[in-house]
């Protein structure tokens, strides 16, 4: 019986991986693009299950809103605005066979290199032991010695901000550039001013009513995920993308005119700038304090280290806040949520208005 108990997760893992293969095949081969998007959402659901069984709840929390919720929704908007069916004529059969063969060879070589580099070992698969670096991270994430620890029981958030803060910094920059690019493409465009009318716009009354009930719950879950990021699975990214689901619901179920009652693009940009300023502040606050009181301190420092012995308190009145992690999670939540809100609002501008502006530009 105990054998069966320890075997079950692996059986579910293999079955969902095989099912995801079928979904991927259907998604690539399907000519109706809406169906292809739905198949890829099914594939994402199986992948979320795989992530859960591989013991990474942080990824599950960020992956479900992103890959099952936001990306299919935006792809469906894009398909509706463009072609609905894929035209596969004009692809020679020999070309596709040659491409398939070369892709297979490439992937096999890549998989073989993973084995050669001892990233994956086939004799004991999965491996029995963690890497030395992983052991160090795990042992020092919450430790009695503050000089070596980041004082957070959540090892993943500790690594995201404390050990690899530069990654997060550049990640935020990439997202910032993507949003700037989208804003640049959509320059001169604005959401037309129109009064929202309950009986004409949006989906049926059932959808609207249930969305009104669900919306506060989603917001509360998102804020809770973000604020407990240093204690439980979650953090600023996960909370931000979960919160962005509410914006997409507002636009899809009601309409963009209903969404603009609550916030406009300029307000979203302003709130995003506040979030980015919070991220910069949490990166530099220890260095600023060190500069003010005349002691050595570093950018991206959180807890005191041997050569720079100042740092933020890791608890206030018995509540663990892990230094700058709480500030970072809050501002990352704001930045991610508002960034995606901007992109959603830009995508939902009606096509007639866009074509008018573009016409003037092309001619």
């Amino acid at each position: 019986m105990s054998d069966l108990y320890s075997l079950t997760p692996y059986v579910v893992l293999a079955v969902s991986a095989l099912a995801s293969t079928i979904a991927v095949y259907l998604a690539i081969i399907e000519r109706d693009l809406i169906k292809a998007v739905l198949y890829s959402a099914i594939q994402s659901t199986f992948y979320a299950l795989i992530f859960y069984l591989l013991m990474v709840p942080d990824i599950v929390l960020v992956y479900i809103p992103v890959a099952v919720g936001l990306l299919p929704a935006i792809l469906i908007i894009a398909v509706k605005k463009t072609e609905k069916y894929e035209d596969v004529g004009g692809v020679p059969r020999t070309t596709s066979i040659i491409v398939l063969l070369s892709v297979t060879v490439f992937t096999l070589i890549a998989g073989y290199l993973l084995v050669v580099s001892h990233a994956i070992t086939f004799d004991v698969f999965p491996s029995l032991d963690a890497r030395l670096l992983a052991k160090w991270f795990l042992a020092t994430t919450l430790w009695w010695n503050r000089l070596f620890s980041s004082m957070s029981p959540e090892a993943v958030t500790a690594i995201v901000w404390d050990y690899r803060g530069l990654d997060t910094y550049f990640e935020t920059s990439v997202m910032y550039l993507a949003i700037i690019g989208a804003l640049a493409i959509a320059r001169y465009l604005d959401i037309p001013r129109k009064e929202y009318r309950e009986d004409v716009m949006g989906m049926s009354i059932i959808g609207k009513m249930s969305t009104r009930v669900i919306m506060p719950m989603i917001i509360i879950v998102a804020i809770s995920i973000a604020l407990h990021g240093h204690l439980t699975p979650g953090g600023g990214f996960q909370g931000g993308v979960t919160g962005a689901v509410t914006v997409s619901l507002l636009i899809f179920i009601f309409s963009v005119y209903f969404a603009t009652r609550f916030f406009k693009i300029s307000i979203a940009i302003l709130l995003r700038i506040i979030g980015l300023a919070g991220i910069v502040l949490s990166a530099t606050i220890v260095a600023i304090i060190g500069f003010l009181i005349g002691q050595p301190a570093y950018i991206f420092q959180n807890q005191p280290k041997i050569i720079a012995q100042i740092g933020l308190p890791y608890e206030i009145g018995g509540n663990l806040i892990s230094g700058t992690l709480l500030l970072f999670n809050t501002s990352e939540f704001l930045a991610v949520l508002m960034g995606f809100a901007i992109l959603f609002l830009l995508l939902s501008i009606p096509e007639e208005n866009v074509l008018e502006v573009i016409k003037g530009e092309v001619e």
Binding site: S20, I59, V103, L133, P153, V160
Partner: protein, 132 residues
């Protein structure tokens, strides 16, 4: 005697490799730009699963998530935690990867909608012929 868990895990790995092949085929051969974007997102997800598989480990009876359940860990608890928990570094890297991936996908979708407005089609072969 091969462990049944190793066998099932290998099946998972091979399924993900097959997914990668199909997704790359879709990126190269399918003519519609949006279909290419769908295939690209599937390819990215497969890459994330490789990273997570590298960090996964076998532990008796099962591995643990890399999150402590106490705020004042004793020495014994930390030893138990290090012996059981999976590698926390790949999740941290994949976490940023997922969010960057979504932002880049949104930008690509923006570009393809703009291309449709300007060219009137999303078939990449037709667009190439138009400009060539």
């Amino acid at each position: 005697m091969i462990d049944l868990r190793t066998y099932l895990f290998t099946v998972t790995y091979i399924a993900i490799v097959v997914n990668t092949v199909i997704a790359l085929y879709g990126i190269f051969v399918r003519p519609n730009i949006l279909k290419k974007i769908i295939a690209l997102s599937i390819f990215g997800d497969c890459t994330f699963i490789y990273a997570i598989i590298i960090g996964f480990r076998k532990a008796e009876p099962y591995p643990e998530i890399p999150i402590m359940i106490t705020q004042q860990p004793s020495k014994e608890y930390i030893e138990h935690f290090v012996a059981k928990a999976v590698d926390p570094l790949p999740p941290a890297l994949v976490l940023t990867g997922v969010v960057i991936g979504l932002a880049v996908m949104l930008f690509l979708i923006f570009l393809s909608i703009q291309a449709y407005r300007l060219f009137g089609t999303l078939n990449i072969r037709k667009i190439v012929r138009m400009r060539g």
